[in-house]
C-alpha cells in the first residue's frame, strides 16, 4: 500500500494538482480562463460517460448494474443524515449551514471520479463501466436529503417542480448520462470513431484539469481559511472515511470487483463541488456558500487525491479478495 501511495503521489495527475496549489502559495499569476476550465470539465465528463456506456453496451444491462445504482442512491440519501449529526455534535455550525454541508458530502464529485479512474487506468485495474450511471445517480439524492433536514418551507419563486428539474438535470449529470447513453447505443463503432479525441488524450486533459483544480482549491483555501476551525476541518477528513467505510461494506455485499469497489468507495468518500453548491445556493440561500465549498474543494478533495484514493484502492483490494 505504501508503494501504491507513492505511485499516486508521484503520478503526473497529483503533481499537476500540487503545482496548482504551489502557484497560489507563491502568489504566481498563473491562471486558467473560466471557459477553458469548463471545457476541460465537459470533456472529462463526456469521456467518462461515453467509455462507461460503451462498456455497458457491450455487456448489456445487468442485475449488478441495477443493484449498484440502488446502493448508490441509498448511500447518497443516507449520508447527509450522518454528516448532519456529526456536524451538529462536533461543531458550532448553525442548522442551516450544517444541512448545506451535509448535502455536499452526500453528493459526489465527478472530478474525484475522474481521478480514481485515471489512477486505476494507470494501475491497469479494470472497473465496470456502469459505475458511471451509479455516479450520476448519486449526485442528487443527497441534495434532497439536505433539504429535508433543513426542513424549511422554501417560499421561493421556484416552484418545487422547477427546482427539482434544475437539480436533476444539471449540466454535469446531463452530459454524464447523455454520453453514457450514446456510448451504449453506438458501442464498438462509436469507440473506434471517437477514440483519438475522447479516449486517448484523457490522462493528459485530466492533468491540465487538476492543475486548474489546484489553483481553484488553493485560492479557495486562501479566501476561506478562517472557516477552518479544528472541528470543521476534522469533519472534512473524517466524513470521507465514514462514507468510504459504509461504501466498502456495500461493495462487499454486492460482490464488486476490486476496481469497481474502489470507484464506489471513492464516490461515497467524495464531496460535491459542482452540483450541490449551485443547488444549495438556490434552495438554502441563508447558508454561507463559501463554507461548504472551502471544505469540499479545499480540504476533502486534496485529502482524497493525495491520501484517500490509494487508501480506497487498497481497501477495495482487501474486500475483493
Amino acid at each position: 500500500m505504501l508503494s501504491l501511495g507513492m505511485q499516486n503521489l508521484l503520478s503526473p495527475m497529483v503533481l499537476f494538482f500540487v503545482l496548482g496549489l504551489l502557484a497560489v502559495w507563491a502568489r504566481s499569476d498563473l491562471s486558467i480562463p473560466e471557459a477553458v476550465a469548463k471545457f476541460l470539465a465537459l470533456y472529462l465528463l463526456l469521456s467518462i460517460g461515453f467509455r462507461g456506456g460503451a462498456e455497458v453496451g457491450h455487456h448489456g444491462l445487468t442485475a449488478p448494474l441495477l443493484l449498484a445504482i440502488a446502493a448508490g442512491v441509498a448511500l447518497s440519501f443516507a449520508m447527509p443524515f450522518i454528516a448532519y449529526a456529526l456536524l451538529r455534535a462536533t461543531t458550532g455550525l448553525s442548522a442551516i449551514d450544517a444541512a448545506a454541508i451535509a448535502g455536499h458530502y452526500g453528493s459526489i464529485s465527478a472530478v474525484t471520479f475522474a481521478a480514481v479512474t485515471g489512477m486505476l487506468n494507470q494501475l491497469a485495474v479494470p472497473y465496470d463501466g456502469y459505475l458511471v450511471a451509479v455516479a450520476a445517480a448519486m449526485e442528487t439524492p443527497a441534495i434532497f436529503a439536505a433539504l429535508l433536514i433543513a426542513n424549511r418551507e422554501r417560499k421561493s419563486e421556484h416552484g418545487s417542480g422547477a427546482f427539482f428539474r434544475e437539480v436533476a438535470f444539471n449540466g454535469s449529470i446531463f452530459i454524464l448520462l447523455g454520453s453514457f447513453a450514446i456510448g451504449a447505443i453506438t458501442g464498438e463503432r462509436g469507440v473506434t470513431m471517437l477514440k483519438p479525441f475522447i479516449l486517448d488524450p484523457f490522462a493528459g486533459v485530466l492533468c491540465l484539469f487538476l492543475l486548474d483544480m489546484g489553483l481553484v482549491a488553493g485560492r479557495g483555501l486562501r479566501q476561506g481559511w478562517r472557516y477552518l476551525s479544528l472541528a470543521v476541518t476534522s469533519f472534512a477528513v473524517v466524513m470521507p472515511l465514514i462514507g468510504a467505510a459504509i461504501a466498502a461494506a456495500m461493495a462487499s455485499l454486492l460482490g464488486l470487483s476490486a476496481g469497481s469497489a474502489a470507484v464506489l468507495i471513492t464516490l461515497a468518500a467524495s464531496a460535491s463541488y459542482i452540483a450541490a453548491p449551485a443547488a444549495m445556493r438556490l434552495a438554502l440561500p441563508a447558508a454561507n456558500p463559501a463554507l461548504a465549498l472551502t471544505l469540499s474543494l479545499g480540504v476533502t478533495f486534496p485529502f482524497n487525491l493525495l491520501v484517500g484514493i490509494p487508501l480506497y484502492i487498497a481497501m477495495a483490494r482487501q474486500i475483493a479478495h
Binding site: L40, D212, Q223, M280, P285
Partner: protein
Amino acid sequence: MKKYHLKKRIDIVVEAPLMRTLVSTLDRARVPGYSVLPIVEGRGLQNAWHSQGQIGDATNMMAVLCIVDPSRADEVIDAVFAAIQDRIGFVTLSDVFVIRPERF
C-alpha cells in the same frame, strides 16, 4: 437639452444561479428589455471570489442592466426584491437620459 428624456437605469448584481429566476421576474414585470454583463471578480461583505478556472457557476455573480421608464421603476424594483430578497447581491437606481423614449 430638450431632446433628452429621463429614464431610470436599474443595475442588479446577482448570483449566477439566480439568473433564470431574475430573468423571468423581469419578463413578468414587463420591462422593455435588459442586458446581462459578466462579472469576473468581486468582494462583498462576505467573501471575495474570482471566476478564473471555475467549472461551476455557483460562485459567480452577474450584472443586469435594465432601462425603464421612471413611472415603472418602483414596481420593477419591488418585483426584483421579491425575487432575490435574501440572496446575495444588490440593486441600484440612477438617472439616465435617452433620445428615443418610445423604446423603453
